[in-house]
Symmetry: C3
Subunit: 260 residues, 3 copies
């Protein structure tokens, strides 16, 4: 198996992603490349980190996950490849890998410095194509992680405050708005399960918004509902509508859950 996934903010309007695939296939003809998304808002490291964390574990073991949301490309930020118990992760060391890595058992982290494995000449504006793609391809062809550069012990983490629980109230925030206008929070299903989901209410910016149910259509069309979404996090939805639009929800909005 030679799966390589791509999570970027390159969009699909230009040829950027296509050339990354060309580079990978030139080195690793058997690679199977899967797009996770290329529509991360330009430079939004946090959104890229969330998309990767929500998706990486649905791939076969040994899959190589490339994430490139890289506003600092060409400057001093370093690039890393990380091996965990089940996967490989490759990208800039700017936090875009950190939410996924936080859930995994890390085996080693290597800085990408060995130019032998880069596409030459390296353009200082497109490490996705010239650094990350060829490194992933060589890795999928069996090159050992340590060949790419020296080991380091840490990776850059995002300033991402997990949810807090306090006397029957869970407090978190909106961390992602998806294409359907669902507002995904950082409150996990596991945390909610400690309270009694069926009697809980969701509050946004102090205002009571909706109950917690098992699926969208558990409330009438046009009504709001909190559900544990497919990523395992509480999300605020409107049955048949867009919660983000209806309630002007945005990333960073405070969300609380407690008994009615």
């Amino acid at each position: 198996m030679h799966i390589v996934t791509l999570t970027t903010d390159f969009g699909t309007a230009d040829w950027f992603v296509g050339t990354m695939k060309g580079v990978i296939l030139s080195i690793a003809p058997r690679a199977k490349i899967v797009d996770i998304t290329h529509e991360i808002p330009g430079g939004d490291i946090r959104a890229g980190a969330f998309a990767l964390a929500a998706s990486y574990r649905f791939f076969p073991r040994k899959a190589i996950h490339i994430a490139v949301v890289d506003p600092g490309v060409g400057s001093r930020r370093t690039a890393i490849a990380v091996q965990t118990a089940d996967y490989f992760f490759i990208g800039p060391d700017n936090g875009v890998l950190s939410l996924a890595l936080a859930k995994e058992r890390i085996k080693s982290i290597h800085r990408l410095t060995n130019k032998k494995f880069f596409l030459q000449p390296v353009r200082q504006t497109f490490h996705g194509r010239d650094v990350f793609a060829p490194v992933a391809a060589h890795l999928s062809e069996g090159v050992a992680l340590r060949k790419f550069g020296p080991e380091q012990k840490y990776f850059t983490r995002l300033d991402w405050s997990g949810p807090r629980q306090n006397r029957g109230t869970i407090q978190g925030e909106v961390v992602y708005i998806d294409r359907f206008g669902n507002a995904i929070t950082n409150i996990t299903g596991e945390l909610l399960a400690q309270l009694k989901p069926s009697s809980l209410r969701v509050f946004v910016q102090q205002k009571r918004l909706c109950p917690v149910k098992d699926f969208y259509q558990a409330v009438p069309v046009g009504k709001a509902v909190g559900v544990i979404g497919s990523s395992g996090f509480l999300e605020i939805a409107v049955n048949g509508g867009s919660a983000a639009q209806e309630f002007s929800l945005k990333i960073g909005d405070a969300v609380a859950v407690r008994k009615k």
Copy 2:
């Protein structure tokens, strides 16, 4: 051959489609996954059904077509897998498969109830990933259709009125607007061929609009033309422009074709 196609309203901005592919490849590493489209308007079962019906037959025999436009996900609607003479179809039994199935010789229809073939735990908001993707993958690996659940004899059809012919006039409606602004009708090329295409005129909402020609550039730039489009249906186009915009065409508009 292990082709699995995807027709959904999930968009490509988030990671939803990527995780479906990860799930499929985890079970069926040799699967070849092809996107038909993920830009069906959210919850628009009719548009999803049309896109699938317009495309499925261009794939090799035995291809497995997944279509997920599923506003009722998690509620009581059932999920089905259908074998026809040439293909397999998997999706919610809400009509999204029905236009394609209406053109095929059906061999058997099975309800998807056997949780053994689902991704666990099944999220009630994302059967695309947790039910349809793993079932398609197991099917492509050779699991027999009857293993997925009990047979049923029917499938849900859309309320889709075919075109009517009456004394030299064919009446139908606009059923899809494509990215170029072409308004695709439900009037088939076969039906038109019974009249004499070269002398026909297209009327929209009772107003004479344009002649029927063989290709877009058979009329001057900026002019309207009716052509039998690539899906085999009459479509109204503007050479070098958008018919939908120019004439404010929308889905459901009455279209008639008769001699000038």
Copy 3:
């Protein structure tokens, strides 16, 4: 290796690209199909030509590149397949292949006339699916180029004026705006290297705009910078912003580079 790439203006909202892939895989099951982009603005041959020229050489040798930006589909424009020293190119002979071909050593050009290799019946509105896709598939399966139709000696070129150099000033124009709002010019890095990049300034429509640097973050956030972009051309960018928006840059704008 059976790589087939696709560069089109078909968009991804409809099923057009999906059916091209179905047709290719029906003939050439082992083909590996890679999307370069499908978001070329409708009918913009120049943008399609630039996208192809910027990307084709990152693919393995013998890759088959299909480019379909084809406003004249169904009319008299001819269709061609071209073999160069390293690649194959297939598309309408309307200039969309020409920027890439201009960089390659051409071995032979054949008109596509042999209907035996087309999908029947050929729809006059969708040669992407009915002509270019099956021809590419047969080519990848080993059919010789001359089987597709008679040889011709020329291909249609775009009216594309290369940059001019005159006493220390290089003059060119904006030829593409990418998703980040970077304005890509037709001034090559090789040309710039003949002057002394570190002391150069970029002028747009006679106004001094920015210095030339190695990467975007070499200037403060919000500031403009000229860099040799990933395609090898000078591009005008704003660190963390959109140069196209900030300076109302558009395709065709005159760009000059000279010492401060």
